[in-house]
């Protein structure tokens, strides 16, 4: 499974209640890839952190999109915010904590930001 090209795509309302669906989807993919329980837990925590970060940006997110695939022995994941164009009513998150936590959990993290804040977060890890 680990080397078989596979991709999942998920579009969710930008609402913290829906983050659970992203977590379940990614942990399912991790399970298919044969990850151990500890790594799946890390994946769930990282997913939560990414979504939380994307929701707490200056510009309001309308939807969150998740793209993940297993390719060449790695799981690649990207979570991005589809912005609404209006200001967010949620308080901004602490980007430093997000980055620190993600970099502790995942070996390869990248945060894409612009003037409206963090728009997408990607990470990959060997499976």
């Amino acid at each position: 499974m680990a080397d078989k090209q596979s991709e999942i795509m998920l579009s969710l309302p930008a609402d913290k209640d829906y983050v659970l669906i992203a977590r379940m989807a990614l942990s399912g993919l991790g399970m298919l890839a044969g990850m151990d329980v500890g790594l799946i837990d890390d994946l769930r925590t990282a997913t939560n952190e990414c979504c939380d970060c994307l929701l707490h940006q200056p510009m309001k997110a309308e939807r969150l999109e998740l793209h993940a695939r297993i390719c060449d022995g790695r799981l690649y994941c990207c979570l991005s915010a589809i912005r609404s164009g209006g200001p967010s009513d949620l308080p901004p998150g602490d980007l430093e904590i997000t980055r620190g936590v993600l970099e502790t959990l995942m070996p390869d993290v990248s945060l894409q930001s612009d003037a409206c804040g963090v728009g997408s977060i990607g990470f990959s890890l060997p499976v």
Binding site: L20, V37, E49, D94, E96, G100
Partner: protein, 245 residues
């Protein structure tokens, strides 16, 4: 995190190693440790334990941090705290196929689910079950997932290979029970004790003699739902019959 005002204190602490300064730094950075610990909640360990591990990791970070290297303290501390919390979680989890805490929750889940069904004559939703167990829906889904991987008997298992239940066996009557069921009076008694959906189910299953798969198709539900509903109804009818109500 704005920690500029703490930079001089950190520098003084690095130079003097004064316990009072260390305590001041730890106290000021405790919200940071707690914020990091919060990220790891819901993984089967109590919040207080996580916060304690994070606090100890914070103290370690304060003691090891060298301001002369030009990094900000939080840049150094966050991975240290997160790493220690994660390692703690991993150590806690290793050696336990199913953590004892999870086993207890699985047992509790089964009890609450059965009690809910007895009281409300239907299955609880995931949210209702999570509320009753005072856990998050996420934790509940994790438990359901775990339950599938353990040998704890599933409540959802169909009665027979094809999910074909035997009313006589379920109601505790002899093999000739079908004839009895077909008797109008008996059927009327049964149908008076069930709601519309259950009535449809019983008619399809025991009057029309359809299999669960076909019954499910007719009712527009899954075979598993038919199986569960049927077991529930039969158990209730048996209880009513036994009580003589």
């Amino acid at each position: 995190m704005n920690d500029e005002r703490l930079v001089p204190i950190m520098e003084r602490y690095a130079a003097t190693r004064s316990p009072a300064l260390r305590d001041e730094l730890v106290e000021n950075y405790l919200p940071l440790a707690r914020a990091v610990a919060r990220r790891f909640e819901g993984r089967g360990v109590e919040r207080e334990d996580l916060q304690q591990v994070a606090s100890i990791a914070l103290m370690k970070a304060v003691e090891r941090f060298d301001p002369s290297r030009g990094f900000r303290f939080v840049t150094y501390a966050i991975p240290t705290i997160a790493g220690d919390v994660r390692n703690y979680l991993r150590d806690k989890a290793s050696g336990m196929r199913v953590p004892r805490d999870a086993r207890q929750k699985l047992f509790k889940m089964q009890q609450i689910r059965e009690q809910f069904e007895r009281e409300k004559f239907r299955e609880p939703s995931a949210h209702e079950l999570a509320d009753a167990m005072q856990i998050t829906p996420d934790e509940l889904l994790g438990l359901l997932d775990m339950r599938n991987q353990t040998d704890i008997a599933s409540l959802d298992a169909p009665v027979g290979e094809e999910g074909d239940a035997d009313l006589s066996a379920m109601l505790g009557v002899d093999d000739g029970g079908y004839e009895r069921v077909e008797q109008t009076q008996w059927m009327s008694w049964i149908l008076s004790k069930v709601d519309d959906k259950e009535r449809q189910l019983l008619v399809l299953r025991y009057r029309d003699r359809l299999g669960q798969r076909e019954t499910a198709k007719r009712l527009g539900v899954s075979q598993m739902q038919v199986s569960r509903m049927e077991r529930r109804v039969l158990a209730r009818l048996r209880a009513i019959e036994e009580s003589g109500a």
